[in-house]
Amino acid sequence: MKTHIFIATTQGLVAIQNITPIDDEDISSVVSVNGTSTTANISSSYHNFVKKGVGIIHKMFGACSYRVDISARIDQGNSWQVAMYLAHLAQAKGILGNGEVRQGDRVICATGEVNTTNLQVLAVNEVPVKFELAQSQLTQWTALGAEVQFLLPQANQSEIQPNTYIKLISNLEQAATALPNSIQEQSTSNIKTKKLVSNNSRYIITGVVVLLVLAMFFGLSKFIPSDNSTQQSVAEKNNISTGDTNLKIQLVAQLKQSKTCAQTSSQSLSLSNKSFAELALSQLCELHLQTPQAIGQLLLIAQDAYTVLPLKRNQPGWQIPLPKNRLADRSYFLVTIVNPLSEEKIEKLRLYREAMAKPTMLTEAALVIWLQTQDVEFTVYSHKLVLKE
């Protein structure tokens, strides 16, 4: 299921088709039309919306520049900002659609300007016109079986009649609730599981009775271990698990053999006190963290930026994205987590990071304290990529 984000304009709805991080300090963020080299006039405003210190996107999503493809030109105004923020959020969650709505998809149309200092959504002009132009498409998508919402600034409430599509928002936090919530979905699946359990309860009760009869027959002591032995076995299991984790964790680098990455050699970095040995960026082609299968999630948390990134597990291991065009060293934490944190909790971690005046204020101790409040089994490793050997 994809989430399609549309910008409501006075010329109709404009789809946000794609967002690509450029992350090159030389290149400014750009808004292009339909993947062509034609750029929208809002490109320079979007660049400012991304730019650190002025905008919010770099601070929230990590890359210093992005390319956004939209379906039609937008020439002026700032009412695209709420939709653009939501598109970045959806992109970060991996659910951003390309504007081609299908059955079961979610559609969010939005208009609203963002106060980049306090993240409040500001009123915009021509709201009735924008909604009227969008209405036929909203009806079509609903008939198709998509879930459709139209987000408007709270300050524009008086300009439009309430209806099923409209959701009023006054800040970005409220806007973000329009996106699918992983916790809600999880709880829905829990309810389904509960129903399944209650349907099968008769079979379960029968099974338990049979087990009890067997226990009485063979002797309780053999079947039910004592409390002490249970605790011990759990502790042992934990110890073994932790021990295994430490033993099997390996940061493996693919290093250039020549000028390019066509031929590489593999090198495992030494680990001491949960810190991997420093590595020169110049020779680096790929970097993977190899962990035991029990590790369900790996988070990369930059120390010199506000980036919090859940990584993907591939065949060689968890792939660590390499910084491009760096002008300084990159220090970061790698957090291995047994039971994955939900998107919502990761978002909370991002907000926790962004509340710091400077990204460098995050220490390992502070990160450990925050993770301990999340009730997860985790280990924090640190690593540094350096510019020069």
Binding site: T20, I22, D24, D26, I27, S28, V30, S32, G35, S37, T39, S43, S44, H47, R67
Partner: protein, 181 residues
């Protein structure tokens, strides 16, 4: 010879040349029938947005006298320039043009092959560049092309272009001189 005398001689020579060419040739006319005047060339060379640059440029490229005049004006009025590059091989591709006043470079888009970001850095730009943008004139013996970059922000401006666009090719062709206005 003192500097001011040399400059005066040069100005007199330029004025006489332009005067002679105005009398020797009938005024060039563009497709709308409006003749291209010296003022149009001056406005274009200075990068002023009031004139239809595309039409005037088309006319310039069809007339050798106009092209000469325009080149002379560019040499006089341009904010910065980068002369024809001396290259050991004419086949070699250049990826940047540098002078004391500016740097022009391109980077390929990783997602859309065939598209390039052309970045123009002017560390010490003038006020006009912040309001009206920058005109980049690419001049060879046979053709002149002009590209308008958006206003300078943080010392740089950029365009997204197709790699096959002739204007992009001219910018990074060693045999083209570049004039910024």
């Amino acid at each position: 010879m003192p500097d001011h005398q040399y400059h005066m001689q040069e100005q007199l020579f330029t004025a006489k040349t332009l005067y002679r060419e105005l009398h020797q040739f009938a005024p060039e006319k563009n497709s709308t029938g409006k003749p291209v005047l010296l003022n149009d060339l001056v406005q274009l060379a200075e990068g002023n947005p009031q004139i239809d640059g595309q039409q005037v440029m088309q006319q310039i490229n069809q007339s050798l006298p106009l092209r000469r005049q325009y080149m002379q004006l560019l040499q006089k009025l341009a904010f910065a320039n980068s002369p024809v590059q001396a290259a050991a091989s004419s086949v070699a591709e250049i990826s940047s043009r540098k002078s004391a006043e500016f740097e022009l470079l391109f980077k390929r888009d990783k997602q859309f092959s065939g598209q390039v970001y052309v970045i123009l850095k002017i560390p010490h730009s003038i006020e006009k560049h912040h309001n009206q943008g920058v005109h980049v004139n690419c001049c060879s013996d046979k053709i002149i092309s002009s590209i308008h970059f958006p206003p300078i922000v943080d010392g740089k401006t950029q365009l997204l272009m197709e790699e096959s666009d002739q204007k992009f090719i001219n910018m990074f062709d060693a045999e083209f001189a570049i004039y910024l206005s």
